[in-house]
Symmetry: C2
Subunit: 297 residues, 2 copies
Amino acid sequence: MTRVKIVEVGPRDGLQNEKQQLDTASKLELIRRLAASGLTTIEAGAFVSPKWVPQMADSLQVLQALDLSGPVSYPVLVPNDKGMEQALAAGVREIAVFGAASESFSQKNINASIADSLARFDSVLATARREHIRVRGYVSCVVDCPYEGAIAPAKVAEVAARLLDMGCYEISLGDTIGSATPNRVLDMLAAVSKLVPIDKLAGHFHDTYGMAISNIHASYQAGVRTFDSSVAGLGGCPYARGASGNVATEDVVYLMNGLGVDCGIALPRLVETAWFVSGLLGRAPASRVAQAMGRHH
Amino acid sequence: MTRVKIVEVGPRDGLQNEKQQLDTASKLELIRRLAASGLTTIEAGAFVSPKWVPQMADSLQVLQALDLSGPVSYPVLVPNDKGMEQALAAGVREIAVFGAASESFSQKNINASIADSLARFDSVLATARREHIRVRGYVSCVVDCPYEGAIAPAKVAEVAARLLDMGCYEISLGDTIGSATPNRVLDMLAAVSKLVPIDKLAGHFHDTYGMAISNIHASYQAGVRTFDSSVAGLGGCPYARGASGNVATEDVVYLMNGLGVDCGIALPRLVETAWFVSGLLGRAPASRVAQAMGRHH
């Protein structure tokens, strides 16, 4: 049976983009429930400035409360050497770094060219190698950029290959504004997989325009076997303009179950978790599957 | 350029499944706006018992106010000879009849076997032939049935072929509970297209589990060129358990635009119309694209 790995990004990428903050105990309960549903990679925090991202200010406490030597991996976003120091202090075994495939996006968001932004990670990656910490690389704007429109697939391939060369074990390709359709995803994957083996690629799709499941299916057919998603669609309210939420984990698992693909995840427990965290945020899950299956199992 | 035809079912299949009723003037304004966005087939009413379906009680008034000899086709659902009489009186040029691919569904919903339910349409179809009225055939439960689970693709093919033999010019295949995934849709289409030419098939997908766009893309790749959809996702609130709403027209058009396929529809006008009718119903559109593009254009 074919297997697909789901990287759950709700507790970091999801919660980071929610207005309402969860307290540390709630985050830990969320992560515990996600692991109990079968997820084996759960992005758990970010060592970034709490001024910029107050939602992640308690990442150290969260990480310290987790079993970092067990079977579940808890990657943490690390933007620079200072973040790396904190990650080491917390004892993390896996980190994530990020780059953009769009020069305009890189300039506007981190005030640096793509090349400069990646060079800043050189020392982070060197430390990771020395400390035997696994590194995942994110590439944003792999199909469209909010500032410059369509991004050339060759540019995405170049950035992905650079992250691989720097030592990332996996490159997650992000449709940041959720505007891609499957044909354009396939064009991009064709270019990237010339430089990076497809088994080192992950798909990271946003459901802003309702295309995420179709893009995931197309990527799966092209050979991608790892997908990022966010329980309950955390990180984007479908009822707010321009909210570019991650695709909901339960929708991805539903698709894979239907395709006869094993994700190792118990869908009813995951749906319960979607309702649990949505309840903490005072709303319904932004996921068709959680709605269709209902609250109780 | 490849073309796809969209059959807009919002004013009938959509509004019929909304709790709140629209008055006749609002329905006519909705239909006018839909036609102005470029839609050329708009299901406009049903000649059914107003006791069972009060939302369609004004179908005669709606039809009488429309230009039935113009370029836009306004099919009307007709369940029996009595409905056919009303359709003739209203001067309709196209009707729709329906059957199920599931025996349990047919029994529970209309208290008749599939064969008996189709036989009831014999005289309707004979009248249609005599009066040169086009007939569209719906088949429900083409992948799963809420009562008996998976439906054999061969059974769907049999019902579709029977409707074709009876004189339907097109057979719309409905995933009534929205549970299908693309692999199962393709299995079904493979069986049906052995008996009915694929250019006489339409896909009618519900987005209950968020799979509709993926199923439409898969059907398109298999050669289907006609899809039913409902502006603003009318007919199913995504925030109500088990609501099995039609896929939103604007999401289908977005997909097709992305694929470089021409539907002849102006997406901004369609999205405006989605917000217009959702406003009449006192809620936001159940469509990611309408949300992402926002209210004003």
